[in-house]
Symmetry: C2
Subunit: 418 residues, 2 copies
Amino acid sequence: MDIEQYMQNVGKHAREASRRIARADSNAKNNALRAIAAAIRRDTDDLLAANREDLAAARAAGLEPAMLDRLTLSAKGVAAMAEGVDQVAALADPVGEISDLKFRPSGIQVGRMRVPLGVIGIIYEARPNVTADAAALCLKSGNASILRGGSEAIRSNRAIAALVQEGLATAGLPANAVQVIETTDRAAVGHLITLREYVDVIVPRGGKGLIARLLAESRVPMIQHLDGNCHVYLDDDADPEKALQIVENSKTQRYGTCNTAESLLLARSVVAQVLPAIAAMLTQKGVEIRGCHETLALLPHARAATEEDYAAEFLAPIISVKVVSGLDEAIEHINHYGSHHTDAIVSENYTSVMRFLREVDSASVMVNASTRFADGFEYGLGAEIGISTDKIHARGPVGLEGLTSQKWIVLGNGEVRA
Amino acid sequence: MDIEQYMQNVGKHAREASRRIARADSNAKNNALRAIAAAIRRDTDDLLAANREDLAAARAAGLEPAMLDRLTLSAKGVAAMAEGVDQVAALADPVGEISDLKFRPSGIQVGRMRVPLGVIGIIYEARPNVTADAAALCLKSGNASILRGGSEAIRSNRAIAALVQEGLATAGLPANAVQVIETTDRAAVGHLITLREYVDVIVPRGGKGLIARLLAESRVPMIQHLDGNCHVYLDDDADPEKALQIVENSKTQRYGTCNTAESLLLARSVVAQVLPAIAAMLTQKGVEIRGCHETLALLPHARAATEEDYAAEFLAPIISVKVVSGLDEAIEHINHYGSHHTDAIVSENYTSVMRFLREVDSASVMVNASTRFADGFEYGLGAEIGISTDKIHARGPVGLEGLTSQKWIVLGNGEVRA
């Protein structure tokens, strides 16, 4: 197999299909989505069988338990996958939405129309559920997609792709609107991220290593998601009760998610009042505290934090703790050590809150709320293709809207420019 | 001079300044802009003297007349430059704008806040007025900028930069918020477009050759502007009077602008009725017609159009003309041969108009209006840093808003995720 030629063909077919899917009406797209969901439910047993083959091969290859876990599809997982596709069908169609139409002094009326981006390449790890999810979001937003999942999931992904293409055909839409890359050759990724002629944007969903590699090599714009080193800052005017609850939820609700807090900052004036209860809660939940020397003065059993700890995304029951002089130092610390993902302040002070909102340079900035809310569903996007830590195009949770752009429309009545 | 080290320093200083300029309040930014405008007016003679040195060197180097023309500053041009900077001061500040705040079922209120992109690199030809213009737009939108103009304008640009930095200092803002690259070495551009750590976006303003080179080499996102091959399509239901006026204005108001029409498409049913008057108008204005065989049947003296003509941005009194079967062929032709810049339909038919608006894949799509309206000022943006023919981030005329992004803000009252 000539990988370069194969990827060129995939790109060409995607571009052709993108023209047709871009102008498909909402009914056709929703019919396709419902047909895909129905086919997934109907063929649950076949999907589970394909997945068992992937799992057997992965176990034989000695894949780590965490990765085996992500690779595994259960009957419940397949049902959730179908349900997810149906949910995308129920969302409003972003394509064709017209906004901000305003008359200008020349007599023309100028506004914007939301349109698909074109062809979207999704690169992700061996998680078969992402295949259905990403296909559904791209389809609904009028984009053609090229899906490249981790090679360990190839049998599961092929099985899902067949059902997606069946659904597209049922609705009279081009099968190439969703293509799953058929080869597990890693060179395919290298070609995908340089197919500038055929691919409009790459959405990588995966670990930091994957993203860093893609960033270095990609010739196509990316909606990228690096790490989530999220902070909770307890301001001088923090409400102790809210502080405790927000730290607990931000850090301990789930340890492995990108919107989990990895660092706690406390204004010096509140440390004595709030840290003992927070430390007791964290210790009781088995969270290791790595603190600055002022933290250690209060919590002698805690470990000393290093520079690396303040920059780390632990994804584990570990939290770095630092006492700061106040808002200025907190903002500086977050903008320096953070990953521009999600950061929260706990404060009752209007001026502190407004400054934190404006000056913290992160995709999501929160007041008196858990960092765990940084999520497309919690924000009301209805779905999420990823969380962008970039500033260009889309920032933070990316839903259907982030997979579109806006063109200008001008409605005239024979006007010409003077 | 070690160019790489120099550019690293420029980038580092820009990043530092960007943090301060991002949180500068509107008054400080406007004070700086008004001080810059005043300094430009005050030092008009010095600017003209620096420009005369550039012109003398350029003439000695045998620069083409069109480029000499762009390089030339007149007293009137300097006054217009200062006026432009004052106009930017008068625009609303986009930074900090909060929109779409909505309560979610969890109790949190989620919305967006507009924030600067960070550091913007502007690469442009030897046009000194762009220096003041780009500096003003980046400053107002809270971004630090690195300006690299054509080397022939280096003396003029240095003189303008000194006044810009004086204005920044007057307002207590960091001088490094606007840096003009001091070297004419072309290697500086190569470094600028790969300074991913320090530069958030590159805005190239220049010819197709420049953009193509940057596209091939850039490691930083670009707001790019390729060519403008704009179309006017006269539909079956075109009003002949509007058709004539719109073709005249779109093609002949100015020949060298990117929103000038380069191609005329006519539905077969209207050719006999409208083409003779349009051809007479074009011929009378000295516009050369390059037509399809059906065009030539009516206009035997016209030249036959080649494939290249349909794809060309003439920037000259030349127009390609093609008779099409109707709307479908027109849309297909535009999406195939066009440059996704600006295209217009002339029609009284609702369904044709709606399909044209939806299906033509261009940054600006117009109904019964001249393509010449595709412009930041005509659209009400108040200013324009460029016109993007890309789809990611910004499309079409880019004003202050295109130099910003939106972060998410969450206002809570102690909410945690369930």
